[in-house]
Each structure stands twice: as C-alpha cells, then as structure tokens.
Amino acid sequence: MNRRNFIKMTGLTSLASVMPASLNLHAAPVDFAGKYLVTLQLLGAWDVSSICDPKMNVPGEDQINHWARDGETQTAGNIQYAQFANNAAFFDKYHQDMLVINGIDAQTNSHNAGVTHNFSGRISAGFPSLTSLYAAIHGANLPIAYINNGGYTETAGVIRNTRLEHAGEIKNIVKPTSSRWNPNNKWIPDEDWALINQYRDKSMIEKINSTNLSVRERRAVSNYKSALDSASILTDFSTALDAAGDLHEDESGTEYWSSLKRQMQLAMISMKSGVTISADLHLGGFDTHQNHDVLQGELLAHATDAIDFFWEYAEEVGLADRMVLVVNSDFSRTPYYNSTAGKDHWPVGSAIVMERNAPWGNRVVGATDEGQNVIPIDPVTLQPQANGGSIIYPKHVMQSLRDYMGISDHAIVSPFVFNNEESFDFFSSTKSTPQSGDPRNSVRI
C-alpha cells in the first residue's frame, strides 16, 4: 500500500468510525400515524370446525362434531359459525369487522412446522413474522417496537423483539432507583442520582469526542447513547402504565392458564405511548387430543372473550380505529374424534382478520368440503373451482396481508419474497366464497 492509499484508507476508516452503528438507532422517534398490527397465536391447533368453518355431521360417516348433535350451523351477517362455546355473542357483535379465510392448507401436522408456516408464510425456518417486518419498517428506532410474548418468534435479524407480559420489568428500567414494591422508597436519593447522571453525560461527551477509540468501542458508546436516548421515551410508557391502574390478573380454566388480557393491555398501552408498532400475543393449550369438547370449548370461549376485551380496551385507549388483529393457529383438528374423545391434527385450518369498520368485513373466502378437505378456488373470482382451481397456502395469506399492510415492496421485505404463482384477492370488498357447498353438512344426524 502506497502513502496516498494509506491516507485514503485512514480517512475512510475515521469517517466510518464516527458514523452511528445503525442509522435507525439515531433516527428521531417517528410520529407514527399508521395502523398497529397484532397477531393472536392460538397455539396447539384450534378446531376451526367448531368456530368459523362449521361442520355438521354426515350420515354414514364418523361424527365430525358432537355439538352438531343438537346444534346447528349459525349465521351472523354473511359469516357462518358453529353453535358452540361463546361463538354466538362473538360473531353477532363482530361479524361486520371480520374477514374469515377458510381452507388454508398448512401442509403439515407437526406443531413446529405449522406455527412456522402460518406465521411466516414459509414451512422452512428462516422467514421473519409479518409483525416483525412491519415493526422493522415503521419503528426500528423505538425501544419496544415489536412485542413477542411467545409462539413464532423469528425476526431474521430485522428487529429485536421484547417479551412484555408483566409491567414490573419496564418500571424497573425506567425508575431504576425506586423500590419495585413501593415507588416512593428510593434506593438512591434523587440528588445523588442526578449527580451520577451528570457525571455519566460528561463522561459520554468526552468519550464521543475522543479520538483514540477503536471502531468497536465507538460503536458500543454510540449504541449505549442511543439506548439512553430511547429510554427517555419509555418514561411516557411507564407513566401511562401507572395511569392505567391495575392490569388484568391471570385467568385459568380446567387445563389452561392465560395472561392474554394483560398481554393485550400492555401491548395497547405501549402502542398508545408511541413505543410499539406491532405485537404477537399468545394463548396455548389448544392441543386437545383428549376430552376435546370440554377443553376446546373453554379455550375458544376464553379466546373470543379476550378478543372482545381487546376491542373494548382499544376503544377505551382510543386505538380501536387503528388496530388490525390477525387470529391464527398451527393448523386445525381432525373432522372426527379419536378413542379418547379427543381430536388429532388436521392440516386444513382458517384465519380471521379483524379491523374496525373494514370495507372487506363480513366476508368469508376459501372453502372446505363436508370432510374438511380443501376445495380449490379461483384466485380472482374466489369461487370454488374443482378443476384448475388453486389451493390457499399460508404464503398466500401472508402475501395478501403484506400487501394490505403496505409493506410488500419495502427493501426490508425484499429478501423474504414468496414464490407465489397466483395471488388471491382476499381483501376485495365485493368477492367471497360460498359456504356449505355440500348439502350433507347441513343435515343433523
């Protein structure tokens, strides 16, 4: 290397070393005016034939659902639902605000593969969740841009995720000198704490201005500073948490323990405080290989009750018009019972997308036959098409959600493109797929 090149290299290195580690980290907090995205992951596989893809029993075949011995398929608006659990209250109240996508073929009956496929759009590992992409695009600079409380957690490095099921941890970060149980008790007097902060700021400025830091050291200082700057935003969140009062306690049933409503509260308070863009909430226990009717009934009732709470609370905090809620699971359950009154895994499931006053609401797309097998549909007209029709896979649902949320063409999404041969027009307000194509499903036996 000659002298001239050496000087050039030195110049470039010093330029690189003064740049922040991540440009996103130093961006000013966005005044986000878009929609907030929340997915509800019902883990273990819900039984869609007992909720949004209702199936009566077929004469001469194994019984699909015991509720259909006395119950009927019900209708709210244009949406059919099963007469089971608390479905009636849920669908009567929210049918205008929901799109039901039936007949999604997850192509697996392994839990891990099902979760990966349904929440990333690809059955192999590696693609980030829709929520992580959305947060990376709209809130990379925010301290808790993406909340993930469990279920599918892959971000592919586009953004960090935060577990937020309890409020205590945030309070500890925001008020490190206060006692956790009694905020008025201070471990360090305020005057001393102010002195410590003063010293830290002074030392930080000295470090940033010093010329003898290595690139790695400078990056570490820069990241530390950005974390401190972002932490100040958390104060608003902490104040909002204090103002929210007592959060929801855990709820339990025969076989489940749920913090779902508290997860919802925390996600919405953090969104309202401007620190969060998207969240994955979870409720487990749906893997009902035994005692299916009782356990699945309790869980579905709790899930629909929690979704109702979600919208009520969103209304209370003033976010109801900006929320998009996607409800999905690993896959579904068999259209017959096993020897222990349970149901095993079935790859064909459903998803529900909800938004207040959505023009695409009160619609069902996709269909299954009397045995809960996929009926191929025309991707454009969404009408059943036995020959030459297309099957809905999770990649199609994910692609249409990406399109709807307006992130498909973003540079962050470009490494994670699906190889879709066809695209379904799920969010059209005029098209839908007729349900109950087989009359045998409406016969009670």
Partner: protein, 211 residues
C-alpha cells in the same frame, strides 16, 4: 390308463393356465392406497406393498386422483394377499407397482418380507432419483405417510404446564424478592433508628457537657 392320466394332466394344466385373478369394480377411492369395492361396499381395503400420502397430506390429492385415473371406471383384476390387502391389475399391469414407480406412493417399510421387495424398492429409488411425483416436493413437505400419521397425534409442548411452572417460579422469585426487600427495609429502619438515637445521645451528651 396312461392315456387317461395324460388327458387329466393336460386338462389340469389348461385349467391352471386359464385361472385369472377375479375382476371387480371400484366403488370409491378414499386415498392413494385405500378403496372400496362395489362388491363389498362396507369394507375399506388397503393396497398391498405401498403407502401413499394421506389424503390431506402434500401430494395426497394427486395420489388419489392418479389412482382413480388408472382404472377409470373399468373393471380391475384383484389378488388378495394374506392380510386381505389388494394388488390391482389393469391389462396385466400392477397398479400398486405403478403408484410407486410414478412417485405417487412409498414402498412399505416392511416390504422386504415380500416376494416383490426388490422391484418395489428399486422403482422407488428410481422415482426419487428422478424427482418424480412426490419426490419433487420441497424437503419440508416430503414426509413419509407413517411419519405423518405419527405427527398427527404428537403433543404440542404443553403451554399449560410450562405456563404454570413459569408462574410458580415467578411467584417464588417474587416472594424471595419481597422477603429480601422487607429485610432490607427493616435493616434500613434499624439503621435510621440507630442513627437517630446516636444523634439524640450526642445531643444529650452535648447538652450535659454544656451544663
């Protein structure tokens, strides 16, 4: 006498040569290796030597459609084996073998016990090497039917017990922290009292000194 024996022998050879697998009609194809015969409408028969993807499994629909198309409403010749499984023949061609050869089914794992093991496993190897039928699927979708059936009953990592355990640990942690904080508070109060009494003592002794 000898002539009579020769005639009987020729007759029996003729009869054996004329014996053919009995022909049946297929009523319904359940999936790529299960069907119902018109003659026995209440029984579901499995095809011998092969295991096709389940109907709801990737390539299950294709396997079912291919099997249906192979006999296309015509009568099929059927040989029942000892397990009451069927081998189907159309125009002398084994349909079971064709299903494996064309990549619509796997050869059964225990086929090594049967007389046709070599031809079936060889046909499967060729189909896999050529990426024919189900062997053209992505890696994650290429699941043997017996694994698929096993997976359908596998239990999810129990979120419930996990949650309970997590909650129990958290309660224990919270309790321990509370005890620790209470201890610290007590110590602080004791220290404060001590400091206060020290100060009082000092004041008292100062007062006494000034007296």
């Amino acid at each position: 006498m000898i002539f009579r024996y020769i005639v009987l022998l020729l007759l029996s050879i003729f009869l054996v040569a004329c014996t053919k697998a009995p022909a049946y009609k297929i009523k319904h194809v359940v999936d790529g290796d299960t069907l119902v015969l018109t003659e026995f409408p209440d029984v579901r028969y499995d095809l011998a030597y092969i295991d096709a993807p389940e109907r709801e499994q990737p390539y299950g629909r294709e396997a079912r459609a291919y099997l249906k198309q192979l006999f296309a409403d015509q009568q099929v010749d059927i040989v029942f084996n000892v397990n009451q499984e069927l081998e189907l023949f159309v125009d002398g061609q084994s349909i079971n073998y064709l299903m494996v050869k064309q990549g619509y089914a796997w050869a059964q794992l225990n086929i090594a016990d049967s007389i046709d093991s070599l031809s079936y496993t060889e046909a499967q190897k060729q189909a896999a090497n050529n990426g024919t039928g189900l062997w053209s699927l992505e890696h994650g979708l290429m699941i043997a039917p017996w694994q698929w059936r096993e997976q359908s009953t596998e239990r999810a990592p129990s979120m419930n017990s996990h949650d309970r355990l997590k909650r129990q640990r958290e309660l224990e942690r919270k309790k321990a922290l509370e005890q620790q904080y209470a201890r610290m508070e007590r110590q602080r109060e004791q220290r404060a009292r001590y400091e206060q009494s020290k100060k009082l003592n000092q004041q008292v002794s100062e007062k006494e000194l000034t007296k």
